[in-house]
């Protein structure tokens, strides 16, 4: 089964590589994906009888928060909002933008204006029309003080309404990833303007009215959210009558609920659960690497990582591929780059310079750097080679455990290491202030554009560059890639960038965390991928 899985993964990757070659302007109907591939089921489906079951029950870890799109900050609400609201553009399986509420779009030669041609005749769930005025209003709200995403929206200088269904965004500077950064994150969900203007704000924020395939119906706080089919949806479908979310915080409980039929979809399970699911013919398993990279970041401004030899040595000292394989696969899969393997920016395995596992080489390097073994640990000028590993607690899959094993392997080569597990709030504070030597961090994006990772994590002063990485040569390449619109050139630039990143040895790469879906094998018409998990419009059950 594992074979089948990895095969699936490879297939997805190949598909992604092929698909990204296609020009983005070529509209592919998101609502009508060409014959969805059957996950984990090779039989033909002609003979299958459609089940009478038309409700799709999904387990949530946390309750929904609120539905003002310019304030949605949590994955749970985002997932629910995805059914209710739509964006100008949506994503293809490889993460590339495809038409949604905009049927087509154009970028000016100078890269400064983006013109969107809106779908006509679309109405919100409250009956009000969707048009350029609504789009302008929404993105202006995104720039306003009410918004939690002002920084992202600040790239929009202003908007020109050309006609009812044509709108142009004028940017303050060219930005190749404008669609990824502004149009497609949570802030891009477009709500009904009429509802906003007529309703009390609190009611509005808890009564989302969009244009999507499902309409918000009921919320029982702490327990359940129910959506019903939107019969007037512009696309084809949905086939389901209801989408129901149930709040079940404990992963173990979610697993039981799936096995006992209490829910139809869970998106989190342990490695051990997955092994069991694979033996169960009633349950389909899909595990796909997502745009979620995990790595230890080495703070180059702190002892001992100010010395590149020590950064290299710690890499030689840890057998990360084996650790990940033993305790975290298939949920986390080892990767040798900061960029997610599932995205188009990753040049493929074996292309980038990487460091293997060789404790002896690690000790040689440490000694080269002037350390001497005193007792069990290395010392230099009376200063012990000691490292504190900052770890979050169950934020990323097996984070604490991976830190513990790493610590153990460090100790074995004479590096005195300890783990500091912190609760998320305090962790973020310390890490963002650069108060660490080495930290387990992840970076999640819903899009595949490499700039979402590189510009934040390794560009000088990037917003997620807590370990103070800085390389002028790299910055230059990244800036060039930002402005470049030719895909092939961008790809080449990001390959160069990744080579530089790896040569600087700023990280110990851990891998990519997958997205996982576990659901009854009677489900048809649904083919989740890292960018398109939420398309339930064609989903139905067989007997």
């Amino acid at each position: 089964m594992k074979r089948v899985l990895s095969l699936l993964v490879v297939l997805m990757l190949m598909f992604a590589l092929v698909a990204c070659g296609a020009p983005a302007e070529e509209p592919a109907e998101p609502a009508e994906p060409a014959e969805p591939a059957e996950p984990a089921d090779e039989e033909e489906e002609e003979e299958e009888e459609v089940s009478e079951k038309t409700d799709w029950v999904i387990a949530l870890e946390t309750d929904i928060v609120q539905f003002d799109p310019v304030k949605i900050g949590d994955a749970t609400t985002s997932g629910v909002a995805f059914q209710i609201f739509e964006r100008l553009l949506s994503r293809a399986p490889d993460g590339q933008p495809i038409p949604d509420l905009a049927e087509d779009w154009e970028i000016s030669d100078d890269g400064l204006s983006w013109t969107f041609y809106l779908r006509e005749g679309v109405t919100f769930h409250d009956g009000s029309p969707f048009n350029a005025e609504v789009v302008e209003w929404h993105f202006n709200r995104g720039k306003s003080e009410e918004s939690n995403f002002r920084a992202q929206f600040a790239i929009i200088e202003n908007m020109d309404i050309e006609d009812d269904y044509t709108i142009t965004f004028n940017l303050t500077e060219p930005m190749a990833a404008f669609a990824d950064n502004v149009i497609m994150p949570n802030g891009g969900f477009i709500p009904s303007m009429e509802a906003y203007q007529t309703m009390d704000y609190d009611d509005w924020a808890m009564d989302p009215i969009g244009t999507g395939p499902f309409m918000y119906d009921e919320w029982v706080p702490g327990q359940r959210v129910e959506l019903v089919r939107n019969p007037d949806w512009w696309g084809d479908g949905p086939k389901l009558e209801k989408v129901i979310y149930r709040v079940i915080p404990e992963a173990g409980t979610q697993v039981i609920e799936l096995e006992t039929g209490g829910v139809d979809l869970i998106t989190r399970a342990t490695t051990e659960d997955i092994e069991r699911f694979e033996q169960n013919p009633d349950i389909s398993v899909i595990v796909t690497p997502a745009y979620r990279s995990r790595q230890f970041e080495l703070n180059v401004e702190k002892f001992p990582f100010d010395d590149i030899r020590i950064r290299e040595a710690v890499n030689w000292a840890v057998d990360m591929p084996s650790i990940v394989e033993a305790i975290a696969s298939p949920i986390t899969v080892y990767a040798d780059s900061l960029l997610p393997m599932a995205g188009w920016g990753y040049p493929g395995e074996g292309v980038l310079p990487s460091i293997g596992y060789d404790p002896d080489r690690a000790m040689e390097l440490i000694e080269e750097a002037g350390f001497q073994m005193v007792g069990d640990y290395y010392e230099k000028d009376g200063q012990r080679l000691s490292i504190t590993i900052h770890s979050p607690d169950h934020r990323y899959y097996m984070d604490k455990d991976i830190c513990e094993v790493t610590q153990h392997q460090f100790n074995q080569v004479g590096i005195e290491a300890d783990v500091k597990v912190m609760e998320w709030g305090a962790f973020l504070d310390e890490v963002r202030e650069g108060e660490f030597q080495m930290v387990f961090l992840g970076w999640n994006q819903s899009g595949a554009d490499p700039s979402l990772f590189t510009d934040a994590k390794v560009m000088t002063g990037g917003r997620g560059n807590y370990a103070n990485h800085s390389d002028p040569e790299l910055d230059e390449i990244l800036r060039q890639a930002q402005r470049e619109t030719d895909m092939d050139v961008r790809k080449e630039l990001y390959k160069e960038a990744q080579i530089l990143i790896n040569e600087n040895v700023w990280h110990i790469f851990i891998g990519n965390e997958s997205l996982q879906w576990f659901f009854p094998s009677t489900v048809r018409g649904w083919d989740p991928g890292p960018a398109i998990s939420g398309y339930y419009t064609q989903l139905y059950f067989t007997e």
Binding site: A251, G252, T270, E272, I323, I327, E404, V405, M422, E423
Partner: protein, 291 residues
Amino acid sequence: MHVLTRLSRHRSARIGGVCILIIVLMAIFAPVLAPEGYNDQNLIIRLRGPSAETPLGTDQLGRHMTSRIIWGARISLQIAFMATGIGLFVGGTLGLVAGYYGGGSDRLIMALMDVLLAFPGILLALAVVAILGPGLYNVMIAVGISGIPQFARLVRGSTLSIREKEFIEAQHAAGASDARILALHILPNIVGPIVVFATLRVGTSIMQAAGVSFLGLGAQPPLPDWGGMISQSRQLLRTAWWTGIFPGVAILLTVFGFNLMGDGLRDALDPRVRIAKKGTEAPRESAVTAD
């Protein structure tokens, strides 16, 4: 001697004593008793069930649960004794001052204690660890702080009842200093209930510390902290129940031991028991919580 003899004849004290002895021996002789170190990882044998080679199974990093539980006795007892000590020392001092001097200091101290008491214990401990940061010592402090008001109330109450006694008046008349009276005459007379409560509190501290660990703010890995082990096992419970059940049994036995011992001590220290029937707790149980 009297008390100790009575204690040694007390059945629940004996059982409790045995439990405590086992745990204390485990803590002291962990390096000898434990077949492996608490952080001897072996990813090849991860999550093995109980068997001849791995009596209590292994955890997610292939460490032997047996060894981790034995080493864990150290952590738990350390936390429990230190936390109780902090509560006893700070709370006891405050209670003594409040009870002996009375007046404004009494009112102020007890008002503060009321505030602390109105705060749910586990949330207070959690908040304190959240402020101090996780770690063994901070858990001790947090659990210790949440025990302060109870100790203060108990000591104040006992002190009040002794203060008015004639022999104390006599000491005052004879010109004895406050310090002398407190140390030589009040303390010895109130030590009984304090010892009983402190014994019970050791058990409570272990549970509270485990609760803080359970919520993710306990001792740091790889330290084998029982509460942390249970917390960690939550996601493994279905496939590897032994990772959560055995540390819980260890907590249960330890706390049970201290509770039994507390009961025994109460009976041994309280002459009233001899008049009433053996094994009576009487409404003193509520002296701790009731106003």
